[in-house]
Amino acid sequence: MSSIAIDSKRTLRQDTWWLEPMLVVLGLGCFALYSTWAALQNGDYYAAPYLSPFYSPCLAINCAHVSVPLFGEWYNWSPAILILWIPGGFRLTCYYYRKAYYRSFFWSPPACAVKDAASSYSGETRFPFILQNIHRYFFWASLPILAFLWWDAIIAFNFGGSFGIGLGTLVLIANAALLSLYSFSCHSCRHLCGGGLNSFKAAPGRFKLWGIVTKLNEKHMQIAWVSLVWVGLTDAYVRLVATGVIQDLRII
């Protein structure tokens, strides 16, 4: 039995506790809508030499820009579907995003000292949420994707055989950098680097790595948001150039 003083009320808080969950619903909701729409377009994702990160690596022969031809002629749905489940799953099982959506979408709890919406609760002890435990596999899977995004950023200097830099080149580099920061500030990465050790003394190399990842990890939430917004903007930029709405700004 618990104290009866506030039992019948949702909370005694008088501040704007509902603001944060509301902003998160707005932010994540907009991103989910935009990315689903963009992923289903199956077009306008390549504006030479830029490939949208939603479609990278592009794994089908039918791609506007083929990264690795794994899927033959028969595959003519959007190639984004082949790849987006990896970054999608990585973010969905991310410790930060879990906090964000448990609070704002599930109201479990909506804010601290504000009552849960559901009357019973088993957290991550049962299906489906017990599946959050596979997060580290998504971390591993996101590493080859990062390699492809860096490759995309490098070939974004190649304008039909001659070296150049466009605004898109910078956008792609920033995208690869931000997504790398996101992956390497991951809590599972922190554990794998050295958090699982009980004594650092015996493993100075991993201790150092753990120290660096720990520093990044403290900013994981901020990096999660900035990289999310940026990857969306990157797709939008490539899309706008591909459709001819804007022209890429050539710097060199």
Partner: protein, 258 residues
């Protein structure tokens, strides 16, 4: 309601304090003179002195170190002795209620014995044998990591705010709570400890109930990064042991038995 007393400069604290016991109660309004530098606990003491000699409140150090004066101020779990009155709007009525998660004894005092029962369930420190020269050695980098966990003053604000038990009383038997995850982390990451508490964490302590929504971290008066530095690292260790077949195959990463 008692008449407001007039202070030297006329400022007064308007308080709404929970009065009652397990059988029922109500919020009652009190006004007392407000003086420079007061904290909520001072105001509660003034109410005791001027209007309600029988108002029950638990406190000891008035310095944020004994962990006794936990309560909810305007609905937020806080130490009353560390909550300054000048952080509120002048003239605002401030609500003070007992912490919600534990059974009410009277007024602002609750029965926190749940926490002492959970404390007993944590497998204790089991150090390695001494080295040949009769000593045990630890290194600074290993001490630095667990030092944070030793700052805990057992105020149980984290236990109180945790929705797993705050809003779901039925989870109490199967969940140890954030304070004890901090305790287990301090032992599991201790360079000299030899025990293994991962099965305990997963089953008896109910680590999986925590959905890392971080309210424990938000309220901890010692600023312990409960979620980032103890709960999530422990969850990762539990994953390695129970949910990661590849790591088990490699038998290399994390956990004491490896």
């Amino acid at each position: 309601m008692p008449e407001a007393a007039v202070a030297g400069n006329g400022a007064e604290a308007k308080m709404r304090v929970w009065r009652g016991d397990a059988s029922g109660g109500e919020f009652r309004d009190y006004s007392v003179p407000l003086e420079e530098g007061m904290v909520v606990l001072d105001v509660i003491h003034s109410i005791q002195a001027m209007h309600a000699g029988d108002l029950a409140v638990r406190w000891n150090c008035k310095a944020g170190k004994c962990g006794s004066c936990s309560a909810e101020v305007n609905g937020k779990p806080r130490l009353m002795c560390m909550t300054r009155m000048n952080t509120f709007e002048p003239g605002e009525t401030i609500t003070v209620s007992p912490i919600k998660t534990f059974p009410l004894i009277r007024d602002l005092v609750t029965d926190v014995s749940y926490n002492y029962e959970k404390a007993k369930s944590v497998p204790p420190f089991k150090p390695k044998p001494k080295e040949a020269d009769g000593t045990r050695r630890m290194y600074q980098e290993d001490i630095d990591r667990v030092q944070e966990f030793h700052k805990c003053i057992e105020c149980f604000l984290c236990q109180n705010v945790c929705h797993v038990i705050r809003d779901h009383d039925d989870n109490k038997p199967s969940f140890a709570g954030p304070r004890f995850f901090v305790r287990v982390a301090s032992l599991e990451m201790h360079p000299l400890d030899t025990d293994d508490r991962l099965e305990f964490l997963r089953k008896e302590a109910g680590l999986g109930f925590c959905n890392i929504t971080k309210c424990c971290t938000e309220v901890c008066p010692e600023n312990i990064k409960i979620t980032d530095n103890s709960i999530i690292p422990l969850k990762e260790r539990v994953v390695t042991r129970f949910y990661d077949p590849i790591a088990r195959l490699l038998g290399a990463l994390g956990g004491k038995r490896s």
